[in-house]
């Protein structure tokens, strides 16, 4: 499974943008933006959907970098909190790269990004035994176009809760 988001693509992007841009603001509010409130309302607490919509399942990276950004840290702190609250979930961190790199290098770069997220979550008390990493390199973009608006969404690490957990 490469993704657990099964909304139409437009709303997926909305969810991503919310996760990327809106979380700092969201963190101090009980509810997210109105657009996602109805979706959030439908998500059972502790469910995979709850995680995606109310926590944010992904962090983004600068070009050619695997450093966790300040925004990424906020997302991962929320992820760590949620994963601590709902300890039944095992999960996989998927690392991705944008297409502006060669295939082999991007596989390793995606792995580096996944590892960075794994290390960060471990530093926040998540047991390594719950975590697995995988890299998809540039093989699974979420946004397809030839400019920065897409590339920046594709440089990501996604925390995917295992279906069985």
């Amino acid at each position: 499974m490469t993704t657990v988001i099964r909304f139409a693509r437009g709303s997926t992007i909305a969810a991503i943008l919310m996760a990327a841009l809106g979380l700092a603001a969201c963190a101090s509010k009980p509810e997210g933006p109105a657009a996602s409130a109805s979706v959030a309302g439908a998500a059972a607490r502790g469910s995979a959907q709850d995680f995606v919509v109310n926590v944010g399942d992904r962090v983004f990276f600068e070009t050619d970098s695997s450093e966790i950004t300040a925004q990424g840290r906020e997302t991962l702190d929320k992820q760590a909190q949620w994963l601590t609250n709902y300890g039944q979930h095992a999960f996989t961190v998927e690392g991705h790269a944008d297409e502006r790199g060669t295939r082999e290098y991007n596989l390793a770069l995606g792995a580096r990004r996944a590892q960075a997220v794994r290390d960060y979550l471990a530093s926040r008390g998540i047991a390594p035994t719950r975590m697995r990493t995988i890299s998809f390199g540039k093989e699974r973009p979420v946004a397809v176009c030839n400019d920065i608006s897409c590339w920046s969404q594709n440089r990501r690490a996604v925390t995917v809760l295992n279906a069985s957990s």
């Binding site: 790199g101 060669t102 295939r103 290098y105 390793a108 792995a111 995988i134």
Partner: protein
């Protein structure tokens, strides 16, 4: 007048097959490993009665100098081969057409439009009327014949003539099963190419690549194999698993590639004849970017260890693994020198991706790429003298070659987004893929190592990650 005897006789068998997807279910096809019995019909050089009968022109032997920077394509005429029976006529014409297409695509030859031909070759045993061919400025002339033998096999013969000297340069005959006719055409093309350039040809070879279909976010990728000219595409996987970076073994019977199955993505070995598949090694983590050693005994690859990728080699017989690099960096895309003594690879150990060369056992590595930009996917030429690469500079992805010490960089193709070069068996041509980005997908291209003659390689769908086989015979 008696013609010179044909010099060599090649027996090309076709007993083995490529294991392919059941839905394809095509009849047996020839495979790279063929039982090839090469025996000399004549002991000496086949300049027989004809050469002596014809007035020999001093120093007039036709030869195309391909060492010059700017090669003027040599005008050649390839009239339809003579077909003895009705069915042979079609085969004979097809053989001539494939030879024509091969020679044209090489960029070194300029096949003449058959409409200009004056003499119609209807008897392969007669000496051509050279003045007719000189009149249309053909310098080389290829005549031939296809005959069905009583045992059902196909006999194909050809003669290459130096039109201006009025003599035969080479001639061969081949026996094979009729469904091998396409391969015969490639072998004849190679014989012509070699006789006229002095270099081995590359037409009797194959490409393994990744066939791509579907939207980019959910791209389906299948292992595929085809002749170097794009004919005879066969799919080796179904597309239910993501597959990447296939590479030929020197025997051309096996492919190593990376696949996403369950668990970590791994390097696999696939026997294309039997369809048997196995993982290469039992590594704790993702293995990727595999390539065979020139002797076929080892597979070299990257192993992901945390945030770093290091190079390992595995002996395919003993299963022993050897660590070749140990850095806090991404070391990947390894490729052996043709003598197996050295390995080139890319590493970002110095900050950005650059090309390094080290001994085949590992040890200190020397950076060889120093121009502006970053360098990746190095691959060693079968000639040993150059390394081809992908170069990223100012948002563009170029394909280029450089000497093995990093000097003499030459860009062959530029733009967004070229990637992943592979050399033809003779080192004369580089194939790579180009992806225009956005919703569309990649295609395969060839370009001469001089940077000229860039051509698209026909594929049924999007195609990437090409790897050129060695010559099949």
């Amino acid at each position: 007048m008696r013609l010179p005897q044909l010099v060599q006789e090649l027996q090309i068998g076709g007993t083995s097959r490529i294991a392919e997807m059941d839905e394809m279910n095509e009849p047996d096809v020839f495979t790279p490993r063929l039982q090839l019995n090469r025996r000399r019909v004549l002991g000496g050089i086949g300049v027989g009665a004809l050469a002596m009968a014809m007035p020999r022109q001093a120093a007039a032997v036709l030869r195309l100098d391909v060492t010059q920077g700017n090669v003027q394509p040599l005008p050649v005429a390839v009239p339809d081969f003579v077909g003895v029976s009705a069915t042979d006529v079609d085969t004979a014409r097809n053989v001539s057409q494939i030879i024509t297409a091969n020679l044209r695509r090489s960029g070194l030859f300029a096949p003449i439009d058959p409409a200009a031909f004056i003499e119609k070759i209807s008897n392969a045993d007669a000496v051509p009327r050279f003045p007719d061919w000189r009149a249309i400025n053909a310098q080389g002339l290829v005549t031939g014949r296809v005959t069905r033998q009583q045992d059902g096999r196909l006999k194909a013969e050809f003669r290459l003539w130096d039109v201006f000297a009025g003599q035969q340069l080479t001639g061969q005959q081949y026996f094979t099963t009729p469904d091998n006719w396409r391969r015969i055409a490639h072998i004849i093309s190679d014989a012509i190419y070699e006789r006229l350039t002095g270099e081995k040809g590359y037409f009797d070879s194959r490409i393994v690549f990744i066939d791509e279909s579907g939207p980019k976010e959910r791209r389906i990728k299948r292992l595929a194999i085809m002749d170097q000219d794009g004919a005879g595409v066969r799919y080796l996987t179904r597309g239910d698993e993501l597959v990447l970076t296939p590479r030929f073994s020197p025997s051309t019977q096996e492919i190593t590639y990376m696949s996403y199955g369950r668990g970590d993505p791994r390097v696999y070995l696939l026997n294309i004849e039997t369809g048997q598949r196995e993982t290469v090694g039992n590594f704790p983590g993702m293995t990727f970017s595999p390539r065979f050693s020139p002797d076929g005994q080892r597979v070299i690859m990257s192993l992901q260890q945390g945030g770093n990728a290091n190079l390992f080699a595995m002996d395919l017989r003993s299963k022993a693994t050897t660590r070749l690099t140990d850095t806090a960096a991404i070391d990947t895309a390894p490729s052996y020198s043709p003598d197996g003594a050295r390995i080139c690879f890319e590493s970002d150990r110095g900050g950005s991706q650059q090309i390094y060369v080290m001994g085949a056992q590992g040890g200190p590595a020397q950076r060889i790429s120093f121009s502006e930009g970053s360098y990746s996917t190095p691959v060693w030429s079968p000639r040993g003298d150059t390394i081809a690469f992908t170069k990223q500079y100012q948002g563009k992805f170029a394909i280029g070659i450089m000497r093995t010490d990093g000097s003499g960089e030459r860009i062959l193709s530029e733009g967004f987004h070229n990637e992943g070069p592979t050399f033809s068996p003779n080192g004369r041509v580089v194939m790579f893929f180009r992806d225009p980005g956005g919703e569309s997908g990649p295609s395969l291209f060839t370009v001469d190592i001089t940077g000229r003659n860039e051509l698209k390689v026909p594929t049924p769908g999007y195609a990437s990650d090409p790897a050129w086989s060695p010559l099949l015979s």
